[in-house]
Structure formats: C-alpha cells, structure tokens
Symmetry: none
Subunit: 449 residues, 2 copies
Amino acid sequence: MPTSLDPIPTLIEYLRFPSVSTQPEHTKDVVACASWLEALFQKMGLSTEIHQTPGHPIVMAKTARDPKKRTVLIYGHYDVQPPDPLPEWTSAPFEPRIDEKEGKIYARGSSDNKAPTLAHILGVAQALEKKGSLPVNVIFLIEGEEEIGSPNLAAFLEEHREELAPDVILVSDTGMAPGNLPAMTYALRGVATMKFIIRGPSHDLHSGLFGGAVANPLTVAARLIASLHDEKGHILIPGFYDAVQPLQAWEREAAAALEKASGGDDSIKELAGVTELFGEAGFTTLERIGARPTVEVNGFGGGYQGEGTKTILPKEAFVKLSFRLVEDQDPKQILELASAHLHKQLPPGVSLKIILGHSGEACFVDPQSKDGKAAQEALRESFGSAPFLLRDGASIPIIAAFKKILGVDTLLVGLANPDCDMHSPNENMLLKNFLDGIKLNQLLLEKLS
Amino acid sequence: MPTSLDPIPTLIEYLRFPSVSTQPEHTKDVVACASWLEALFQKMGLSTEIHQTPGHPIVMAKTARDPKKRTVLIYGHYDVQPPDPLPEWTSAPFEPRIDEKEGKIYARGSSDNKAPTLAHILGVAQALEKKGSLPVNVIFLIEGEEEIGSPNLAAFLEEHREELAPDVILVSDTGMAPGNLPAMTYALRGVATMKFIIRGPSHDLHSGLFGGAVANPLTVAARLIASLHDEKGHILIPGFYDAVQPLQAWEREAAAALEKASGGDDSIKELAGVTELFGEAGFTTLERIGARPTVEVNGFGGGYQGEGTKTILPKEAFVKLSFRLVEDQDPKQILELASAHLHKQLPPGVSLKIILGHSGEACFVDPQSKDGKAAQEALRESFGSAPFLLRDGASIPIIAAFKKILGVDTLLVGLANPDCDMHSPNENMLLKNFLDGIKLNQLLLEKLS
C-alpha cells in the first residue's frame, strides 16, 4: 500500500507494477496495482470500491456526494502496454529511473497513463488536505483494460449510469501540444479497421507458364490499395467525405497558431524521421493529422518472402487497413463504403474477402462551451499563457461511449510530453508536467464548480 | 551413388536430393547431387568431369568423340526451386511419392528438371547397352544454377567453346502441350527480375499521430505496382513494347490448332485453379502466355504481419517483380525502362531502392530448319501424330547464350505434363512421359545423326 502521498515516491511505487493488461502472466500484477490504488483512495478518505469484470477490475472512488455541487468524473487507466522490445530499453521498464538532467522519469506506463492519472488523484488529495473539502463532487474511474480496447467499461457505465450521473468528465490520456506547450484537446479521430484477402489461383503458379493469362492477386491487391487515394492523397472511396464538415475559421487559426509556436513541419519531420512530409492538398500538416480522415495500409503480404527470386504468380495476398475518422463519420458506414468500393474493382478470376476489425467513433468537444472555457482558464492560470486548442489524430473510443451512455462531454487536458515515447521503449514523463498537473487539477476542479 | 540404371528407382534416388540452389543451407545437398550424377555417368562409361564454379558445380559427361559423327549437346539442370510453402505439400517434397492411380511421381524437381534430364541420360544408357555405341557424339552438360539464372554457365561455355563445339543442342526443360500433347517448343520467353524497396519514416509510426501527414511506404509500393498495367492488363511502362513484333500468321494458326486440340481456356483454367482467366485484350490465352511480354508481382511485404490489428504507418515495404519477355526485347533495357518509370512516380519523403536480379533473353528457333524437322519426325514416330508447335511462356535464359556463344540452335522437346505444378507445391511428373522420353531420346539421336 502507498507509503505516503509525496508525489514522486508515490509515482515510483505506482510505476513499479507491471500491470500489462494484454498478457495473462501479468494478471496478478494488474490486480495488485488495482489494490494499491484502492488503498491510496482509502488513505485519502474516499469511498472506494473495486468492481470485478470479466476481465480486469475497475477501481471507483468517490467523495461524498453533495447535491448542491456539480459532479466531475475523472477517468484514467492503470494498465500499461507490454514493454517489449526489452533490449531497446536503457533501464528496466518497471524499475522507474529518474534522469535529473532531463527532468524525466523513465518507466513503462509513466506517460500512458499513470503519471497523468496520479496527477488528478494527488491534486484531489492536496486540495482535501488543504481545505478539507472540494468545490465539486469527484468520482474517479480508473480502469485496467484501456490498452486492450476497454471491453468491459461500456457495460459498467450502463450499469452505473444513475450512480455516476456526472456533469462533466475529465481525462488526461492525451498529450501536451508539440513543443510541450499547454493545450486542450477538443477533438480525437475515430478509428475503423479491416483486413482484406485477395484469392486467385488455387495454388502458386509458375509466372512463365501462366503469367499474362491469370489475374495476379498481388497486382489486384496493389490496384485496390492504389484506388483508395488520388496522387495528392485525397481519398477516392465514394461517399467517404460526405459527413466531413469543413474546418471552421477558428480551428484553422488555432492550428496555424500552434504550428507557428511549435516549430511547425520541421519538428514533425524530425519526430517521424522523414525527409519530407506528404499529405492531402489544401491542408496544413496539423490539420491533416488532427482534422482530416485517412486510410493507411498497416501491413500487406503475399507471395515469395525469402531471399532471392521465386518467379511465381502467387495465389493470394492480404492487406490490413486502418481508417482514422473525424466527427460525424460513422465507422461502420465507412467500412461499408470501403468494402463496396473494393468489391467493385475486381478483375475476373479473383475473390475478395473482407474481415472487419475494431472501430470507434471520433469525438469533438466544443472548447467554447462553459466547461471548455473553464478548462482553458485553469490552463491559462497554471501555465501563464492561453492554452493551444488541439485536434489529436489518435483515437480514444471510450470518449464517444461516455457521451452516448452518460450524456456529457469530456474535457481532454493532456499532460504527456510529446517526446514521451508512449507505447515505445523508453517511455518517459517529464516530471515538471506531472507536478504542474497536480496543481492544474486543483484549479480545474475550482473552475468547473 | 546410383544403385542401378532401372528408370524409376534411379529417378527416386535423384529426387531425394534437396538441391535447392538459391538457399545457402542446401549447398551441401547441391554438391551431393552433382556427385551422384557424376557416379551415374561413370557407371555408363562416359568420360565425366565436375567443374567447380564460383557457385554450384557443372557436371559434364561425354562419349568418345568420333569426328565423323555429329555432336549433340544435351543440357539440363539438377538444381530445384525452394519447396515452400511446405504445409501445402501432401507429401514431403524430397521424399518422392508415386501415386499409382494417377501414374505420377510427386517431388520437388520431378518435372523441373530431374525426370526430363534423366530421360535423356537413361536414353543414352539404354542405347549404349543395346548397341554399344551411339549414332552421334553426345555431351551432357547438367548444371546446378538454372533456378537462379545460370550465373556461371556462360563463362563455362566461353571457356570450353572449342571443346564443346556441338552441331545442335537438345533441351527437355519445357512441357508437353496443354492436354499432355506432344509438342516442339519453338520459342521461350526471356526473363528479367528486380526487387524494389520503398523506405519512408525512420521507424514505424503511430497511424493516429502521423497518419495523413507522411507518405506511407506500403501505399507508395502499391501505387507503383498499379502503375505497371492498365485495367485491361496492357503494360504502361513507356517503351516496353517497342521491340515486340506482331505474331506471324502461321504462329496464330499453330496456337489456334493447339487451343482446339487441348481443350482451350477450360483446360488452362483447370490447371491454374481459377474461375476465370484474365489478360491483355486482343490475344488468345495461349498467345498471352507464349507470345506476349508480362510483368508479374512475385511477392510483396511490409508492416504488420501478425494476427489482429496494429495501427502503424510502417517504415518500409518490398516488392519482387519478374518480367517475361519476347524475342528482340533486351532484358537489361527493359529493367532500365521499368526503373525509370518507377522512379518518376515517387511522392515526397520516400526513397526507392531497386535491386536488379537475374535476366535472360527470349529465344526463337525456326521449327522448319533441318534439325527442327528431324525433331518433329522423331516426335511423330514416337507419339503417332504430328507434334504441335508451341510457344512456351517460361524462360531458359541459357538457350540464348548457347546460340550466342556456341553458335547453334537448341531443340526444345519438353516432357513435363502440363499439370506438373512446376515451381509449386506438389510438383509431379507423369511417369509415362518420363518412360516415353527415354525412348524418344534414342529416336531423336538417330534422326539428328
């Protein structure tokens, strides 16, 4: 159990749990981590429960509910990504290491999502210590399955809809803006995935004996991929953009301001390790990442994979695609449009099999709403300058579920430094961001009251 | 060493060597196979030498040279294609299995090229046994690098030009005509191969955080593949068809006659295991296979290859291509044209690396030459009907080198059954073709004397 509420030692204790949700051998670590959180909340005097699910437990902790106060639900997750590839870590992933010079703590889960979650928790702890009470009712909901797609959270929300009934939700599972600038994320892209398989001949054929007379599944797969975009990166699936709204003037201004402050394309080139950027004409890089839907090939394979030459006309090929979507695009409909588009282009003699994968809706929270403004004010007071307004290109499908099931908006106030290497070896968290986050959260709760 | 000259047991011994020339781990098997051939020729009383090359050895065996007789060089290869994908074999590729009902032997290398080569060898062995001498001088040249493009054979021919000095060359590395009909092959396609690699970001990127802003190497690779053909299968590389001559009237007639006799498209569909054929407009299927140049994707790969989803924008992709060419097309020039075409279409931020593979020219031998007519006669007498005249879509690049270096034509009398699955899993050889081939070869040597 937590030995103190001193921020850095508490964070180090939290980071020591290898709470890897996707690996069954870590189930006991996941459970131990949930118990540690339970003890922490109890120490703070919160009413705390561990909810078993078919998977990993959900930790819920609440202040006493005062009906005169607004209720803020703070969501986070205590599970982490697997740490591999292990050889690429400069220190052990579950033995937190502080680099004094960089001001960073290195550990799996540091930025995603333990330090940001703990900043919320310790913000509340400090406020309670100082004032004995909070300006709002707070409910913490810390789950253990975010990294595996939150398969049991929606059912939990449905079941506890009336008990939870928040006025607003706070999540710190995004990042600071490029350049480690304070930001409020007002949109996340949705996601939809599919795999398709092109099958042709019943077996690999000799490319001399049959080449020219039989459709080659690899050529067909490539032509289908090529049919997804024009040469300037615009997507050609009929109906794909139908629900996409043009960017509003304030959004383009916000993106331009951030681009100017953060080093613009050069800093993105450096992060990506490319010599040049490339994307849909008519949009800046930040707009392409945050505000425009995409389709990317995540993997393909077929035919001879070994060294040298094997002159075959292979029998099949596979392609894995993922779409990133913006608000109002329905992931299921996008997958249907894409499937219809692919099916239309088959030459004779090949078949197309499509296997749909997971999907989740985009989210958009008006930053000029009352709560949005309150969050921006808290950020401004904490960091001394107006926060940037950010569209994040990644996806957190549970945010759409919050809106659908609980009926309220989620404020995304990210704390992770942009070079935090989330999901990668040497994941890290800037300690300043963590400590600032503790203060920010106290201010946030005041502004949201 | 060979335990007898009994055809089937000898063939089984020969097929047991996994003489895969492209895989370094099989080098010792390749060498053992060459030694086995050496012992076989010695047993027949031929003067036999193993010639080392920078790659795999060449086995040469000769009857005593009688200056009053014509000299026939018989070429074959003892190396084989890799057997993968292994799970698709119904029996182990190097444990020959006879299916009595089908009258076939199953093994990698059975039809390509061990049984046909052995038919030549045993034809000579039987003739020597019966008559003590041959009507012609015979030189066997059996190499171990045909499946990797015969990189060392041309140098060997140059070096031994005067020693070899044949009057005509015999090769059985082609097939019977569709329907397993006797045929003389008068043309083979050339071949040219390349691999290309598209590289983009320095590491796999998160498709949410970067998707839309960076050229995806897999999308680029697919677009390059798609740029090779129009939707009707015509090749779009500028200059690709410049050297291609229109088919002569007798050729179209020969193709039409064969199409009629062999079951036409239906039999090719069945061999390929496709529901429909597909190819360049304006040509019959046999013309597409034998007389038209092609480009096929032999393999591609990149990005996530595992189960489920990994939403990355991968750092690189590879594509393996092979071209089949017709007479007068220069393989090196075709590779240059293709390289230039690919380089022209790169979006910013990706690089293209092209690695050229082996290549070899097409060949065309007039079937109405004196030796061509002699071969047709031997076929007619062996099989009881006039042989079909065939353009074979496969490539034996060394045939062009024979003509260039030794100055003589090659007669292509194929023995492989059309459903032999050469280069594919479950490669097989009709035993009747093998045994008939032994007799045919004796008649051929007489007709060529």
